[in-house]
Symmetry: C2
Subunit: 221 residues, 2 copies
Amino acid sequence: MSRDDGVPKTPPVRSRNPERTRAEILSVAVREFAEHGFHGARVERITKAAKCNARMIYHYFGGKEQLYLAVLDSVYAAIRNREGQLRFGTADPGLEARRLVEFTFDYFSENGDFLKLTRNENLLNGKYIKRSQMIRDMSQPFITAIGELVERGHASGQFARKPDPVQLYVTVVALSAHHLNNAATLGTVVGQDLTDPAWQAERRDHAVEVVLTYLGVETSE
Amino acid sequence: MSRDDGVPKTPPVRSRNPERTRAEILSVAVREFAEHGFHGARVERITKAAKCNARMIYHYFGGKEQLYLAVLDSVYAAIRNREGQLRFGTADPGLEARRLVEFTFDYFSENGDFLKLTRNENLLNGKYIKRSQMIRDMSQPFITAIGELVERGHASGQFARKPDPVQLYVTVVALSAHHLNNAATLGTVVGQDLTDPAWQAERRDHAVEVVLTYLGVETSE
DNA sequence: TAAATTAGTCAAAATATTTTTACTTAATTT
DNA sequence: AAATTAAGTAAAAATATTTTGACTAATTTA
């Protein structure tokens, strides 16, 4: 048998890669905080999934709180970035209104972590989002764009109503998000599986119809 | 001066009142779980607010989890009870549709803990609500009543559309709840205070208008 | 290439949180 | 009114969770 008294087991050869490690921690943390919320999230689970040591979280981010903050910033940057690509102002207002609903609906549907993170952040009363000036600034343009869309649609006579842009935006988001945010409780209450893709497809049509009907836009039959 | 060496300080005279203590713990726990969620809730804070000892939670409920379960059941029983008082089926369908939106909107607005608790329960993926057969059973009748309302409204020609009752219900709830559930993040994004009563009054009108317009009911101007 | 820096490991300390044990006494029952 | 039961207290044990200290080695820089 081999003897290696005094000699501790060979330390595994580690490749060093700061960017990769940092990015990996952040990406894993998005999932962990989305899935369990701030209080439910476990530092240990993050390190295991990121195949690194707890010490690294303190090394790269400073602690659990700061990591959470970095996570928030990163997901808001992602959605605002995609919204920016919509480039409203050129096409038919009725079509653009439809695109607004469809984009919002699909983004939430495809990027589940975003809603889960905001749901938790609201549980915390916005404790952390309030600290982020960046998020505030990034969001301004989109609301403005919706205001201009309403303006154009109404001026052209295509929209029967001229709602407050913020109310319209909140409605679009509500119709696109509530069934995802509350799939578990609502699903139990109505006795249906709201996570079923078929259910969600039906929901999408419904959301579009509600918004376009409200605006008074002809929904092509 | 009085001497009482060896004698530990006089234990305060306690009145005993099982019902009151149990009820007090439950009521305080509703607030605590609503405010902080399951993981964020602290047994110690509950005992302090209920002016009792941690031991009592184990005595009356069995533990933190069982207490949370009791809290869930109690708030669902409360809302289903109030809904039952709506007694649909007698008045004008257009008016009843309006009453449905207004009731839902107002209930959420006035009973903040309900939405906060469901928000957290959804964060936990419905782990606990799924265990409660009672909640499932209580909810059935209300969905049925909405189905009948749609049926009547459509048959009488008053509703232009005949939407799926579940979709309609989810929409009503979404329009009534989303701005409350997400006041912190949405408020930051749109740069307005969604908790302001004036804002919420505007929201109420908007929600009613969206739903009635969708149904094709004349909204009296 | 020697020195400095930074990525990374391991284990334990510090903290926070829930749960239980052991006990006291008020209320209820026999 | 003695015996029993249940409400209540205090304190500490058990557990869970985050954070830090002390160290090792890979990479970069002078």
